[in-house]
Subunit: 472 residues, 2 copies
Amino acid sequence: MDLDLKSNAVTPLQEQVVAALRAAIAAKRLLPGEKLPSIRRLAAANRISPFTAVEAYDRLAAQGLVVARPKSGFFVAGREAPLTLAVPDAVPGRAAPEAVDPVWMMRQSLSLDDRVIHSACGWLPDSWLPEDGIRRALRGIAAMKGSQLLQYGHPLGYLPLRQQIRLRLAELDIAVTPETILLTDGASQAIDLVCRHLLQPGDAVLVDDPGYFNYHAVLRAHRAKALAVPVTRDGVDLAALERLAVSAQPKLYLTNPALQNPTGLSLAPGQAHRLLNLAQRYGFRIVEDDVFRDFQSVPTPRLAALDGFQRVLHLGGFSKTISAALRVGFIAGPEETIRHLADLKLATTFGNNQVAAQVVHRLLEDGSYRKHVAGLREKLRRTTPPLRRRLEALGLKVWTETEQGIFLWMELPAGAPDATVLAAQAIEQGVVLAPGTVFSPSRQWKRFLRFNIAQSTAPRLIEVLGKLLRRK
Amino acid sequence: MDLDLKSNAVTPLQEQVVAALRAAIAAKRLLPGEKLPSIRRLAAANRISPFTAVEAYDRLAAQGLVVARPKSGFFVAGREAPLTLAVPDAVPGRAAPEAVDPVWMMRQSLSLDDRVIHSACGWLPDSWLPEDGIRRALRGIAAMKGSQLLQYGHPLGYLPLRQQIRLRLAELDIAVTPETILLTDGASQAIDLVCRHLLQPGDAVLVDDPGYFNYHAVLRAHRAKALAVPVTRDGVDLAALERLAVSAQPKLYLTNPALQNPTGLSLAPGQAHRLLNLAQRYGFRIVEDDVFRDFQSVPTPRLAALDGFQRVLHLGGFSKTISAALRVGFIAGPEETIRHLADLKLATTFGNNQVAAQVVHRLLEDGSYRKHVAGLREKLRRTTPPLRRRLEALGLKVWTETEQGIFLWMELPAGAPDATVLAAQAIEQGVVLAPGTVFSPSRQWKRFLRFNIAQSTAPRLIEVLGKLLRRK
């Protein structure tokens, strides 16, 4: 067909092009499935800008007349259904129970649909987070002379924030210098960097069962093998851990020292000591992921404090308490390891987000962070008991009496469907539940659900769950 | 010793503690090398806060009386020199020529010392970057209702920015949808994600020789093998590339389609076509890293435009033109690949920096970005010829007449020392030079230097280089 689509000059260029293309499609001068001219050709032939050309195709696509195919350009629609975008999309949808895995759950949890109840997710709702403080910090950074807005900055990250993290670690008796702290893009990146540094493909890594599901994903990404260490009501089963250490020679143990995800358990002093001895005896290292630290009002022992970074790396972050949109975490460890990790970070993501680090630094420095996390603990203290009572009224039982942290880890009543079945059914009602299996490398814990307390206050959650439990 | 150090209550707590500890050290009640009480014990014994205790130790450390050892706590100084911090530190220092490798250069380039001339680095000086625009954008985001400051956001990243990137790619005839773009923490992370997705340890990967040195670092991190493809004045040596493809079955080819780093060459249409045919024939994929795009005033062909994402992944970023402190890049590719990369990103860094993406989005949307990059090109157009003349006056020769981009790739005069020797000598004069070898997986190009044009305007650079060249 003739590419010159502009017939007269009364209506805006884009509308003319849209109209001409629509007419050509209607008249079958352009047939279903036919490739349309490239943006540049359309623009050149019609003396319009490429922007206008794209906009024209966009409007036709919105009308269902044109389809964009990422591999090849724009086509007349009609021969096949418009592309469905099978990207990690966040629209709640049906799922067979067997598809209810960590990735499914993460995708559902990242849904932006406000109507969805995110009982499964790992973070606090917006209203609990210090949005005003972040806005204030952004304004401050925008106004401050000398704020670091342009360059990569120090390979270890924004120094004033490292200095504050050092003080925060000292409160836990963990002695570091700012030079043995590396800032990372969230705690997840810290874990990933450690895996890169310490693991070879095929290596075995100890993880808690149940434990944080993203450890499994990151280990898969490193082609490492997750060894499930059973968690009992008294904490990690160290006898089982030792058997695994003997039989599989793990390189690493990834765990939460405090308010373990999902059980809420914290390491007891004796247990911490025995664990470190096992690490020493069997030559594995321990990564303690302390992202829940600020939800604990009285600190329990940290492995890094006992061990002084002989076998332990310590990491944390501010995604849970300040904002997940900023991506600020850190890792502390022996000088030599931190140096290697910094080189790896340089090689694989080059720099740090200086702006985000400055926001976190401001909130820590002006004292508002301390007040904020005290407020969060208080809110959880008030929110947890009524939710627990409502869930108990449905027959669920708490597994451990931790009374702290952002999660409730609860067992389903006898006779209830498995948690994955419930999760697959609940999603159809706009409720994202976290079934125990996603926390389990051995796919056990089928009778458990993890509830994000702050995200589970809507009465509809209890209604939906009650209905599903009665349905059988 | 007795831990209760407070004798009276006249002076501030911290000063009392400092004075008491100093006295104990002076009186040899605490001996050189002796371990000091932990922060918590010191705080508890003296009924002071851990902060005060840390501050006290900090002050003693500043006075050289106490040493913090990351592995074990605080110690009385004296038995050994205080820890030297051997972290990726950025203080210019001596280096033997054989130590002048990419990591050395990156560390030197990240020096925060203003007196250092950063001719080696890959980014523009602060004064060239849109600092006011970033401040304006931060203020806007701080003020805007509904700005995304708290949550992880969509797995693919901030949608409005993806929509704008789609328009920018359309200008290069690259057809994508926002659903086939994944935002990343800088272009470096995009490359890293691709390597994770497509490479197994031991795989071979084609890279340009000379080429961007960080490719070598990222390939090492993936335990992949870099195959050096010679770059000639006419572009990549496709015959050599084909021989490597036959003999080593590479999985990937990492390259810049435009203003190749360091040579400044751009793909010619015929070459692009032949390269794609080679990729097809030998079954490798191509990652085109288009971070220099906005320094090109008239676009040359992009592989993704020709190939429509059959074998090509396309990536870019804004670190060169807006800010390296924000870390905003992207990758575009086939839907299925992008889905995998998004899952990997979720597993390894979880989210995206929403704040940074919003800053970039604002600058693109309000049109200031377009003006800014036009200004950058104009500035380079004015800065390049005088620098080139000054370097030519020292006997250096440009290798290709590209006349665009942010680098000059120049050959040393006959009889001059090797570039690594010059770089090792120049660092002592506070000048960081980029020797050709760091761009070369085969450690060739010993007679070349890459100059960052905008960072090389200081007369002292020419003085130092001139002196070193005369010295022999």
